[in-house]
Every structure is written in structure tokens, then in C-alpha cells.
């Protein structure tokens, strides 16, 4: 199939950006979206032009590196799929596709489609962990955890940290990201001990990194490639309340 791409080009954080138009031909339905961009880049290189910068690594939907806004939708039209797992069979010959980077205040653009998401690491660093050092923890078999709790923890823990939730949110909020980590750890007995401090530290850091607040637009859940549920934001709110009462 033959496509027209309108791609955001921006040479560095301070430089002005614009949409640039490119034609790509001979795209096959079995190609992934990023393989289609590879084809474009190979052509640009041969023409002596600067290839489009975009981020990717695993190309399996798990590392969270990739992330493009495709026709206005973070990660594009695929259902529960990251950009690298989106295949060209979702498009047809003659389509025009607009490709832009995440547009979030807290994710400055570095070049073209690549942004700086280190704010997400700062949130985890603030308290997205259980305070245990390497050494001699108790035998894993001595602590029983009900299957529902373990499953709920895993549902939340599946977050790949791509930032699509923030990119989809009209307020640029990373609340789903925070909620996923808070819920993962708070669902487990070993994570309950610091639950109050954790939710406080993580939400506070989210705001100080410049992310907006959640005002229930629900766009984040739809954009999440892992289908992280909104119910975790409700859980985060309950955890925040509990933390408040603990003083």
C-alpha cells in the first residue's frame, strides 16, 4: 500500500517544530508501524536527508520505549497495543497518517518524535518501592497471599511506563501511572506497611514534576496498551484518604 505521512520534525528541545510530509510506497500489511517508519528512514538516508528520530527497543510491547501519537491517538488505532505492536493492516492504501510525539508539559521534546520521560522515574524514585535491602528476607513460602490479591497486584504491575496515559489526558496527568504502582504494592501484605507514605510521596512528586490532576476524563484507560484499569485510580483515591486519616 502507498501512504502519505505527516510527521512532526523538531531539531532539538528549543527549536521550532513542524509537520513534514512524506510519501511511502510498498508498505505491506504484515509490517509493524515501526517497520514502516524504518522503510521511510532508509529512503531518507539514501536521499542524504536526516532520518526521523523515534524511540523503540524491544518491539514487543513490553519495554515502554515506543510511543507515538498516531492520527491524534496515543499508540494509534490498535486495541490495547503499543506503537510497536500496531501493524499496518489497520491502514489502507491512500491513507494519510499524522504522527506526532507525546505532548505533555512534563515530557519535553528532545528531537522529532522523541521525548524526555524521566519525570516518570522521579515518581518511582519518590517511593514506588518496598523498602527491603538484599539479604535474608523470609522464605517466600511462609507468606500466603490470596490469589485475588496476587492477581490484582499483577493487573496493576503490568504497566510498562510508556506515558501514553499522560499523553492522552487533557490535563497531562500521570495519575494512572501513579495509581498502577500504588495499587500493585498496596495489594500485597508486604507493601501495606509503607502504603500511606507511598501514596503521599508519589502523588506529591507527580504534581511537582508538573503533571496535571485527574478530573475523570477516562482517556488514559483507553490509551493504555496494557489495559490498566481506571479502578486503580479509585483505589489510589482510597489509599490517599486512608493516608489522610493516619495523619
Amino acid at each position: 500500500m502507498d501512504l502519505t505521512l505527516r510527521i512532526w520534525r523538531q531539531n532539538g528541545a528549543e527549536a521550532p517544530g513542524r509537520l513534514e510530509e512524506h510519501a511511502v510506497t510498498g508498505v505491506e500489511p504484515d509490517m509493524s508501524f515501526l517497520e514502516m517508519l524504518d522503510v521511510l528512514n532508509e529512503t531518507l538516508l539514501k536521499e542524504g536527508r536526516d532520518p526521523v528520530t523515534f524511540e523503540h527497543d524491544c518491539r514487543e510491547g513490553i519495554c515502554g520505549s515506543c510511543g507515538l501519537v498516531i492520527n491524534g491517538i496515543p499508540h494509534g488505532p490498535g486495541e490495547r497495543s503499543s506503537t510497536c505492536q500496531l501493524h499496518m493492516r489497520h491502514f489502507k492504501s491512500g491513507d494519510t497518517i499524522t504522527i506526532e510525539p507525546w505532548r505533555v508539559h512534563s515530557f519535553p521534546i528532545l528531537k522529532d518524535l522523541m521525548v524526555d520521560r524521566s519525570a516518570l522515574d522521579s515518581i518511582i524514585q519518590s517511593h514506588g518501592y518496598i523498602s527491603v535491602s538484599t539479604g535474608s528476607p523470609p522464605d517466600a513460602g511462609t507468606r500466603l497471599i490470596g490469589k485475588p490479591e496476587a492477581d490484582q497486584a499483577m493487573d496493576a504491575a503490568e504497566c510498562i511506563g510508556c506515558g501514553a496515559c499522560a499523553a492522552a489526558c487533557p490535563n497531562g496527568s500521570a495519575m494512572l501511572f501513579v495509581a498502577a504502582k500504588v495499587s500493585h504494592l498496596a495489594s500485597l501484605p508486604q507493601g501495606r506497611i509503607e502504603a500511606a507514605e507511598r501514596v503521599r510521596d508519589m502523588t506529591r512528586t507527580m504534581f511537582s514534576c508538573g503533571f496535571g490532576n485527574c478530573s475523570n476524563h477516562y482517556e488514559c484507560e483507553a490509551a493504555c496498551p496494557k489495559g490498566i484499569s481506571l479502578k486503580f485510580i479509585a483505589k489510589l483515591n482510597r489509599e490517599s484518604l486512608k493516608a489522610l486519616f493516619r495523619g
Partner: protein
Amino acid sequence: MQLDGKCPGGPIAEQWDRHKFAMKLVNPANKRKFTILVVGSGLAGASAAASLGELGYNVEVFCYQDSTRRAHSIAAQGGINAPKNYPNDGDSIHRLFYDTVKGGDFRSREPNVYRLAQVSNSIIDQCVAQGVPFARDYGGYLVNRSFGGAQVSRTFYARGQTGQQLLLGAYQALARQRKAGTVHLHTRSEMLDLVLVDGEAKGIIARDLISGELHSYAGDAVVLASGGYVNVFYLSTNAMGCNVTAAYRAYKRGACFANPCYTQIHPTCIPVSGEHQSKLTLMSESLRNDGRIWVPKQKGDTRRPEDIPEQDRDYYLERKYPSFGNLAPRDIASRAAKEACDQGRGVGPTGYGVYLDFSDAIQRLGETAIQERYGNLFEMYERITAENAYRQPMRIYPAPHYSMGGLWVDYNLQSNVPGLFVLGEANFSDHGANRLGASALMQGLADGYFVIPYTIADYLGRIAPGAVDTGHEAFQACRESVEKRISGLLGGKGRQTVNEFHRRLGNIMWEDCGMARSRESLNRALEQIPQLRREFWEDVILTGAPGGLNQELEKALRVADFLEFGELLARDALAREESCGGHFRTEYQTEEGEAMRNDKDFSHVAAWEYSGEDTAPAMHTEPLAFENVQLAVRSYK
């Protein structure tokens, strides 16, 4: 050069404890005076850095991704081994040790493997304490699944995302240390050379991938945990950025590279669909718990799989290896698939595929149970192939997946260059000629959480902290050589892209140095690779300046090293005149087509020492002794 593994000796079960006692310690108050550079933030690097930070060392971590959480370990699916024996099926440390030595086709070092088996139980304890949500049953107990090459269930898992959950555990531990100020991160920072001062590893040169600037970093020791090298095959299951650069540059500075020819071709990956393919996707080996592998009995049978009756199907693994069946080890399962396809019995549009069929399991257990076990894998398969594996069998084919070879290390995980330690997939130590499933995660975390925190002290305890800084002339010289390499690549008027060269190298490696190798094919590869390398330096297209963000340059630097390393791999494969594990030489096979080892002449580690640009590298050997597991022909029949 005499390679001394420095194994402690004595009864194998007591060696590690005795060794821990014999090693030097660093006084707690002195630890913060030592700086340790850790290259890599995968399971090995992140667990090492977090643990060393907790002990009080000053740790600097480097990775090429934007966040330490994105290291390639994140992609591991199936699980991690530990002989907890929760299922009561007869598992023990000794059995895991035995399985790993046998699975590695008797080409690993016994004491290292025993220690790995010993500490593996603590890994599960550590990870559960961190909040890793391993699968549990309705009673709240941890559950296990089976993996290839073992007859017990000892694999712990978190759905199909075990690597992700383990890495997030280590990443969170690392984040906690970063907050505590013991660990400093240098993300988007790629190591391009190792700096030696008086023959000891004292620093690295790294390129800031955003600004393009080269920076020097000095430390009292360098820990490489930079992962594996199978991207030398171009198409593999590894992440796009996985590379051999850090390890290869250390090799060029004097560290020996051990057994580079031991590469693992994983039997269950989604087949190649076309020229545009940029990587191959693994379908976890755990699927072989319930899926049955088959091809049509007749060559050229083009019927749809559901139209092929039972008597016309060849469940070749079950037929050839009745006691392990579909759970035969990876090297054996991969070769059997290749053999079936070479006979013209392969399936799918290219003929390079075999079926992995779940219909029996679905009938027996119900679709819900299968979904519970493998739901995300089936989803991934459908996303890529647009086929529903609940309705029709998956199509799979072997693909390069893991490197057993790596930098040579002794029992302390120290290379022959003092002060240079190597962990995880980047070293060669534990898996011999073939790795069993679910044991790479185990090894990465064992090295990082439970081995390096002890063994590095034995080195640091003998030196004075902070003796070298980046003002030393060795840094200047090293930096200049990196600058030269970069400017040599840029600015030419090339006509071929980096990807094109990488694909061509991959073709040579796969055809001549892949699942089956012969003297003839290896000699061909040894002729072609240097030619391709010369062409690369003359004709590669690279735009831009040395400074600034330049993803093509990043790729070019990695491919340049693969173009040298591929030759070393082929050379090692040629020198090893036997078949063992993942290394199959067509000249050395039984009448039934099984691998034929030659213990008399090749029961050794081959460690290669760089000897200059125009000189062939020198091969050193470390003999392997088998005192606790009897050398035997590996049989899975």
C-alpha cells in the same frame, strides 16, 4: 596466558560458604570511598547496583535506554528457576545443578553452576519481599510450571511477564538507592571503551546520546552487565539496541572472550514474514507445557492443519524423545524443527515453520485454563500474525535468542583484567554450550544480588580507593581513539545504510554460522566477514556531526563491532571440532543426527585474547573437570 578459574576446591556443597569466609571484606566506613561503575541496568546490572549501593559503595550506573527500567531483561516471558521443591516432585539444589550441567552439554564450570543453584532459592525470597507478584494458587501458595530440559516443575512466573516483574523489582530497589544518594544514573549513555590504568580496569568512555559528547568516568572497579550478543545475527529475539560493544571493547583492551560460538537458537519464535522484518518475536517456551509440536508426515502437504488427520501428522519431538517429548531442550528442539523443514515438511507461506498445537490441551483443560496460562502470548501472536491460536495451531520457527558465550570470568566473576567484573548474559560462566529455560533470569539475579556484593570486596579490599581520576593520561588516549572511530564513520559519501550492512552480516552468520555449521561454511564466513567489514567502512551512509542526537551513528558503532565480533565467533566455531549444545558441527554427528561431543579434546573453555589489528587472536584454554556430575552422552530419549 594461564587462565585460573580460582575455584575454591573441597566438597562442592561447601565451596561457596568457605570461599565467602576466606574473602577480604571492606570496612563499612570505607565503602563510600570506593566508586564502582556498573554498565547495564538489566537484571544483572540493576540488582548488582542496588545491592552495592545498599552496602554503601558509591555506584554509577550506565544504560543506553532513557530509563533503567527498559533494559532488555524486561522482555523475558516464561519464568525463573529455583529448586524450592514446593510441588514435592523431588527437586533439590543438586538436581538443579545436575540439570544445568547436563543441559549445558558438559561445557560449564561445576563450582559456578553449583553456587548458582544454591543461591537461586534466595532470589525468590528476595523478589517476593520486593513485591514481585508471582503466580499463586487459590490457597495463596506460589505455583510452578515446567520448562525444557527438566523433569520437575521449578519455574516461578508472573503471567507471561516474569522478566518485567523481576526487573521492576530490581529497578525499584535501584530507585530507592538513587533516592538514598548511593547510586547515580547515567541513562542514554553508551559505553564505547574501557580504560585501563597499569593493566587494571579503572574507567570507561561513554557517549551521551542526547548531546553526542564523550565523557570519561573513573572508578575503582568496572562491572559490565551489558547483556548478550545474538544481534550479530541481525534478526533475533533480542531488543533492537542489544549489542556486543561494551564486551567487545573490553576484549580489545585485553579481557578474554570465552566460547563466542555458543549461541542459542530458540525453538519457538514467530516465523519471518518478509524482507522488512526488523526483529523476531519469541513465543515463550512455557507454551511447550501444553502445546504439541508437529509437521505433516508427507512433504508438500498443503492441506489446512485441521484437515490433516492424526495419522498424517508427525509429532516429531514426542516420537524421537519420548521421555521429554515437547519439553526437550532448546538446542535439540530447534535442530529437529530445522531438519523437518529442510526435508520439505515445513508449514506456512515460506515453508520455514512448524505447528505448535493447543487443541488437545484446550479439549482437556478448557479454553479458560489455557487463557489463564498464556492469554497474553496468544494475544501477542494474534496481533502479529492476525491468526487466532485458540482456533488454529500457532506457526513457529527457531530464532537466535541467547548467548552462552561471553567475557571470561573466574569464580569471583572477575575477568582476566583485574578490576573488571562481568555479570549476567555478558559473561560465559554458567550455561556451558546450551542454556536451559528460565535460568538466565536466575543467573542475572544470582550474579547481581548474591555473588558480586561479596566477590568485589575481595578485589577492593586489596587496593586504595580513588587512586585514579579522569585526568590520567590513559583516559585522554582512550577518548581520542573513540573520537577517531566516530570521525572515521561520519562524513563519507556512502551508498548503503547501516541496516543493510547489518542484514548482510546477519545473513552470513545465520547461513554459515547458525544452527548447523561446517568447516566449509565457517571458512566461507571467515572470508566474507572481513570483506563486508571493509565495505562497511568505505560505503556506509552516515549523515550528521559527531555531536548531537544521532541514532544512525549509535547503530553504526554497534554494527561496526558486530562486524569484527562475527569473525571471532566463526573462528571459535571452526576451532571447536565437535558438536555440543548450541554448537552443531555437521561433521560431528551420530548416524541418527545427534550431536557428537569430543570430551577427550574439547572438554575446555576456549578463551580468545586480542592480539592486534592484523594478527589472529590467541586461543587459551581452561580445562573443565567433572567431579560431581558424570560425563555422559546427553540423552533425552
